[in-house]
């Protein structure tokens, strides 16, 4: 039996959320309020971190506190790679912050054996005025490395990042991509007993992401304990041996990754396959605004796990605001390795020749069944115009869905159970001609 690396015992974390501000309707009350304000402000700021037993009691009726975590318990053994999943607001990040010692629990206790390092955001502590070399040292020590450790791994880090030529250049002159690569390279060479990772794979180009995934896989197989939070179910499934599903601050499932991920996806908790935007925050410009994107089945229901044999619809809803633009909806599909599988654009002739009238449009592109490969598919949504590089809307990873082979008859694999490699898995017509061997001349 291996030792426990992390033991989380009945952890709760309470936050005080905005207490209501009073509005004043008379001059006199405003003046009184102005004088009393410093005292009430003092109480307010104090109450941000002090909680009485009364407030923490189960029957507390006030709505000014938020239980980000409530009585969470679990153990992680040394060498386990655990994926923590759940919708936004389920408490994943709070849990990591409590374990990473960034914020204390309101109740409960956590025991951690060994050094712990957390990657809550790559490039934390990078200073723009320092050179690449200097930032490697600064960032490395911020992440918990000793100077000698950075010394030993320096060449490896630089090679991994691919920014050798710019080591003596201040980081402020780096492109965003270079910064991210350097930052991740430092992070990837940490060797703590416990590594906490939150969504860092959402950065960098596809090739680099793949490199990172491989590196993480290596870390896990070295017997290091890893806690991994991600919305990328493919990465979680690939990297983690165990999954913990959080919902509303509590653990609702804990076990083998595949079953946890699929229960998450089928429960409707996962919302990766559907996105809506309110008017204020919708992507777009003065001419067109994106309102929603959905992955749907033939009945129009949102699907997270699409049956490999059934058609999948990519639905885009948008508002056209000006009447002089030719607008062409466009999707680009990428697999979990970052390979662009294909792109598709609305072919309807009238959209290519005449401007759209203002109003709400909903269009759907249908991907036939028996076409996609198994695994995660990430959808880039864009709006193209006749101008070459003009894209009023372009949003990578707008939605994502999982293509699942239920191993039912009729798919492109037939009764074959082995792997079928490739970025797509079309079901092709096969034909065979048979000719019986000729009778040998000698017989």
């Amino acid at each position: 039996m291996t030792k426990k690396a992390i033991s989380v015992d009945n952890i709760s974390k309470v936050y005080r959320i905005g207490t209501r501000e009073e509005t004043n309707d008379s001059m006199g009350r405003s003046v009184v309020e102005f004088i009393k304000r410093p005292i009430s402000n003092y109480r307010k700021y104090r109450s941000l971190w002090r909680f009485s037993d009364e407030v923490l009691a189960d029957d507390y009726a006030g709505d000014d506190i938020l239980w980000a975590l409530r009585d969470v318990s679990f153990d992680v053994h040394q060498g386990e790679v655990v994926g923590i999943i759940g919708v936004n607001g389920a408490g994943k990040s709070t849990l990591l912050k409590v374990i990473a010692q960034i914020t204390p629990p309101t109740r409960g206790e956590i025991r951690i054996r060994g050094r712990i390092s957390s990657l809550l955001e790559v490039g934390t502590g990078f200073h723009p005025e320092l050179t690449g070399r200097e930032n490697v040292y600064l960032n490395g020590t911020i992440l918990g490395m000793r100077k000698v450790e950075v010394d030993q791994k320096f060449d490896e880090i630089v090679e991994f990042s691919g920014v050798e030529k710019f080591l003596e250049t201040p980081v402020k002159r780096y492109s965003m991509g270079m910064r991210v690569r350097l930052a991740f390279a430092v992070a990837a060479h940490l060797e703590p007993e416990i590594l906490i990772i939150d969504e860092v794979l959402a950065v960098g180009d596809a090739e680099f992401q793949k490199k990172c995934l491989n590196k993480m896989e290596a870390v896990g197989s070295e017997g290091r304990t890893v806690l991994f939070v991600s919305h990328n179910m493919a990465a979680v499934t690939r990297l983690c041996s165990r999954g913990i599903l959080l919902s509303a601050g509590g653990v609702i499932a804990d076990g083998e990754t595949h079953s946890i991920v699929s229960s998450y996806l089928t429960s409707g908790l996962g919302t990766m396959a559907s996105r809506d935007w309110s008017v204020g925050e919708s992507p777009g410009d003065d001419s067109v605004r994106l309102r929603s994107v959905r992955v749907v089945d033939t009945e129009g229901a949102v699907v997270e796990g699409a049956d490999i044999q059934r058609p999948v619809g990519l639905e885009m809803e948008f508002d056209v605001l000006q009447d002089d633009k030719i607008l062409l909806p466009y999707f680009q599909l990428t697999n979990e390795e970052g390979v662009i599988m294909f792109s598709t654009i609305d072919q309807e002739l009238r959209w290519h020749s005449e401007p759209r009238k203002p109003g709400r449009y909903t269009c759907t592109a249908w991907i036939p069944g028996n076409m996609l490969s198994e695994g995660m598919v990430y959808v880039l949504v864009a709006m193209r115009t006749k101008r070459r590089n003009h894209r009023p809307i372009e949003l990578a990873d707008a939605v994502a869905f999982n293509v699942v082979d239920k191993m039912e008859p009729g798919s492109s694999r037939g009764p074959w159970v082995g792997r079928l490699h490739g970025v797509v898995r079309p079901k092709l017509e096969w034909s065979t001609e048979y000719r019986a061997p000729d009778k040998g001349p000698g017989e």
Binding site: L48, R107, I110, M145
Partner: protein
């Protein structure tokens, strides 16, 4: 020394830490980080300036000129026969260090709040970093002091032996006040606004521009409780020679230590909730 290997050390996280001073074990673990933070502050301070480290000389030099004109010439402050430029230089050099570090340390947490929310390391490194980093400026500005002393042909005395203790006290005072204010500033941003007034006023709270001998006898005890008084009087006596005024220096050193320890205690007490109150 503890014999537990780092990979077997068990950290227990509980709701609040209670009262404690420093966790020396942990600080030892993070000493390389401390080194790089200090080094970063030194390197970045004068980045993209034309004059660079010359600013470390210019800042106090300009102050010395202005104060010498106003207090030396116009107001003719009594200095016990010492030329006013010399009299003020020996005080303004350590004072510049103390006021700069106090300001920097008190704002250190608010400025580092991005880092604060993302990664754990001993929070106390934030206010302590400027205490060490600004020693470089202090060192450079000593050249003014040396030049002024050479110009007025001050002969060194055995009093100079007191300097190491005074430099330590000069660091302890802003470190202590910095820890107090940093912990308060993260919760109450008022500190930032109060700070600029405080620094302006504090310069008159110590014998920087005037002589401590001008203080009425009845007030001397209370006056000596201000640790700035002891540090400044000490610098003046040890650099210029003459009798050492122990009635200021002893309480000054004791108070410097008290300010530092209380600051450390308060900071430790509050450090775990910093993130929740940003």
């Amino acid at each position: 020394m503890n014999d537990i290997r780092p990979e077997d050390r068990v950290t227990v996280l509980r709701p609040t830490a209670g009262w404690a001073l420093f966790d020396f074990n942990e600080l030892r673990q993070y000493r390389d980080l401390f080194y790089f933070l200090v080094w970063r502050d030194i390197k970045v301070l004068y980045a993209q300036t034309v004059l660079g480290f010359a600013w470390a000389i210019l800042n106090p030099a300009i102050q010395i000129v202005i104060f010498s004109i106003i207090f030396g010439r116009v107001a003719s402050v009594e200095t016990g026969g010492v030329p006013y430029v010399l009299f003020s230089t020996v005080a303004i050099i350590p004072w510049t260090y103390m006021s700069d570090t106090m300001t920097a340390a008190s704002q250190s947490l608010v400025q580092g709040k991005q880092l604060l929310g993302k990664i754990y390391f001993p929070r106390v490194l934030f206010p302590l970093t400027p205490i060490l980093a600004k020693l470089v400026d202090f060192g450079i500005s000593l050249s003014i002091l040396i030049m002024v002393m050479l110009y007025y042909r001050v002969t060194p005395t055995w009093n100079l032996l007191l300097i190491p203790a005074l430099v330590v006290a000069m660091m302890l005072v802003p470190a202590g006040i910095g820890m107090w204010l940093a912990a308060l500033a993260i919760r109450y941003r008022d500190v930032k606004f109060a700070m600029s007034y405080m620094i302006k006023l504090l310069i008159y709270s110590g014998p920087i521009l005037y002589s401590a001998s001008a203080i009425p006898d009845d007030w001397r005890f209370w006056y000596s409780l201000n640790p700035i008084v002891g540090v400044i009087e000490g610098f003046r006596a040890s650099l210029l020679g003459g009798p050492i005024d122990w009635q200021y220096i002893i309480p000054g050193l004791v108070m410097a230590l008290l300010v530092f320890l209380s600051g450390a205690l308060y900071f430790r007490r509050m450090e775990r909730v910093f993130v929740d109150v940003i």
